[in-house]
């Protein structure tokens, strides 16, 4: 029995070792390739279509992953490796240094600036829009007084945008609940189409245009009520200051060449930069 236990223990450790080796081989081979090239691990979401997701062939794709792939072409000295993980894992990994960069469609905040290095160049725009019934006649936030508004998420920029507007317009009072129930975007838009709610405040980067088209919903979006530049976040370290400069340079090149707008149209069905003044 004792001998059997020892053999069993050895087998387990050998199996774990084998599983581990099969995972690490690829990274090793790549890093041995060129010693002057620094490999940058970029965390991104895996289920945030069209911002970032894993496609049928197992490839990480989406607006931000494709920008990373374009940066790979225009920046020398770095090779970018995309790692698709849960949003919370992405931020935790960036803070601990497991990942060098995070592509998560994040905006600038003082807290993030303290914790990470934020490039000067933004990579896109988060557009907060109001989704309303096609014939509702609602054109802006002021038309929503007395209307039935779909619950707002307590986290994120949308609630802040609505609160800021309420603070600026104390004469108008909006009625809404706070809830973070993880209802899919398709279902939330259906709730507008079938009249359950009159309006939905939401960033436009969740594939709404495609869903409305595919599901033939009687829903339309207003012009953005808030435009928030989004940035890649970089792990705070001395050597990453150089990476920040390279990212700034690369993003500027991509923006000037029209590549960012092109990717925006490809993934969001509109150029998010068109609203810039």
């Amino acid at each position: 029995m004792g001998k059997r236990l020892i053999s069993f223990t050895l087998c387990i450790f050998v199996l774990i070792f084998l599983v581990a080796c099969s995972n690490d081989d690829k990274t090793k081979a790549e890093s041995d390739g060129d010693k002057n090239v620094r490999i940058i691990k970029v965390a991104t979401g895996h289920t945030s279509k069209p911002l970032s997701w894993i496609d049928k062939d197992g490839e990480v794709t989406g607006y931000e992953p494709e920008i990373i792939k374009e940066l790979d072409k225009v920046i020398d000295g770095y090779k970018f490796e995309l790692v698709a993980v849960e949003d919370s894992a992405g931020e935790t990994g960036l803070a601990t240094g497991k990942y060098d960069m995070l592509a998560g469609g994040l905006g600038f905040t003082e807290e993030r600036a303290e914790q990470y290095i934020i490039p000067s160049e933004s990579n896109g725009r988060a557009l907060i829009k109001i989704y309303v019934g096609k014939d509702s006649g609602i054109e802006g936030i002021e038309d929503l007084v007395g209307k039935n508004i779909s619950p707002l998420s307590p986290a994120g920029a949308t609630l802040k945008t609505v609160k800021d507007w309420e603070a600026e317009h104390p004469e108008h009072k909006l009625k809404y609940d706070l809830a973070d129930v993880g209802i899919p975007m398709a279902d939330r838009l259906k709730e507008i189409s079938n009249g359950k709610y009159d309006a939905l405040f939401y960033p436009s980067s969740y594939g709404q245009i495609k869903i409305i088209e595919d599901q033939k919903l009687a829903v339309r979006a207003t012009d953005p009520i808030k435009i928030i530049p989004t940035f890649f976040m970089i792990h705070k370290s001395e050597e990453n200051e150089k990476l920040k400069e390279a990212i700034d340079e690369g993003l500027k090149k991509l923006k000037d060449s029209g590549k960012l707008s092109e990717l925006s149209v490809e993934f969001y069905d509109e150029d998010v930069f068109q609203y810039d003044k």
Binding site: G2, V19, A20, N23, A89, G93, K98, M185
Partner: protein
């Protein structure tokens, strides 16, 4: 945007071995640690037994997702503080380590009372017959411990199987991962159907584990 049920099932079957590998390896790792922990706790060795108690309490009280994050992000950090800078932990490693850690804490708390349930007179009878401690353990005590521990161990396995649904958070594409990816690619239009299929798959895995434990229970029972 539409996906076929066959396509979905094929994708699930393709990644099912990942779940099975993680379950088997973390269950085995957990079993080994649980045996060691139970031994340390029963022997009542000063300081070491208390540390083992603390380990069990920690492993059982921390949610699975947090343990997963600690293994994935915390271990490389700790290793770099110890001077091993280039050591990285792969998502598969982290999943096996964290699930094994959690499982060992849970089942150690099953093994300890099972061991203590063996009457003192059994130990005394074996001692009076001149059994060595090893012989006494394997021939007299263990055969009485196993039938008591098995139902609780079965529950531990079921919890372990449930917890593997968390590993997609660190990028391991298992059956839960495939489900989330399908939902995301179709903007959530088929969420309920996919979750229903996932529920059936987890039920099948738990049913298999339950069946094996019940078979073992029958084999080891005295009646």
């Amino acid at each position: 945007m539409e996906m076929s049920t066959l396509e979905l099932l094929l994708e699930f079957l393709k990644v099912l071995p990942i779940n099975i590998i993680i379950i088997i390896l973390s269950a085995a790792l957990g079993l080994l640690f649980a045996i060691l922990l139970t031994f340390l706790r029963i022997k009542k060795i000063p300081v070491i037994s208390q540390m083992a108690d603390l380990y069990v309490s920690f492993a059982r009280s921390v949610p699975g997702l947090i343990l997963l994050f600690i293994a994935y992000f915390g271990i490389p950090k700790i290793l770099s503080l110890m001077g091993f800078n280039s050591v990285d932990v792969s998502p598969m490693h982290a999943a096996i380590i964290s699930m094994g850690f959690y499982h060992s804490g849970y089942i150690s708390e099953v093994f300890r009372p099972a061991y203590l349930s063996v009457d003192k007179s059994q130990h005394e009878a074996a001692d009076s017959l001149g059994y060595t401690p090893t012989k006494k353990f394997f021939r007299i005590i263990l055969p009485q411990v196993i039938p008591v521990a098995l139902p609780g161990y079965g529950n531990g396995l079921v919890y372990l199987i449930h917890d593997t649904s968390l590993i997609f958070a660190i990028g391991v594409i298992d059956i839960m991962g495939v489900a989330e990816l399908f939902i995301s690619r179709s903007y959530g239009t088929n969420q309920v159907f996919i979750y229903f299929v996932i529920a059936l798959m987890f039920s099948a895995m738990c049913f298999t584990a339950d069946f094996l434990i019940k078979k073992l229970e029958k084999k080891t029972s005295f009646r």
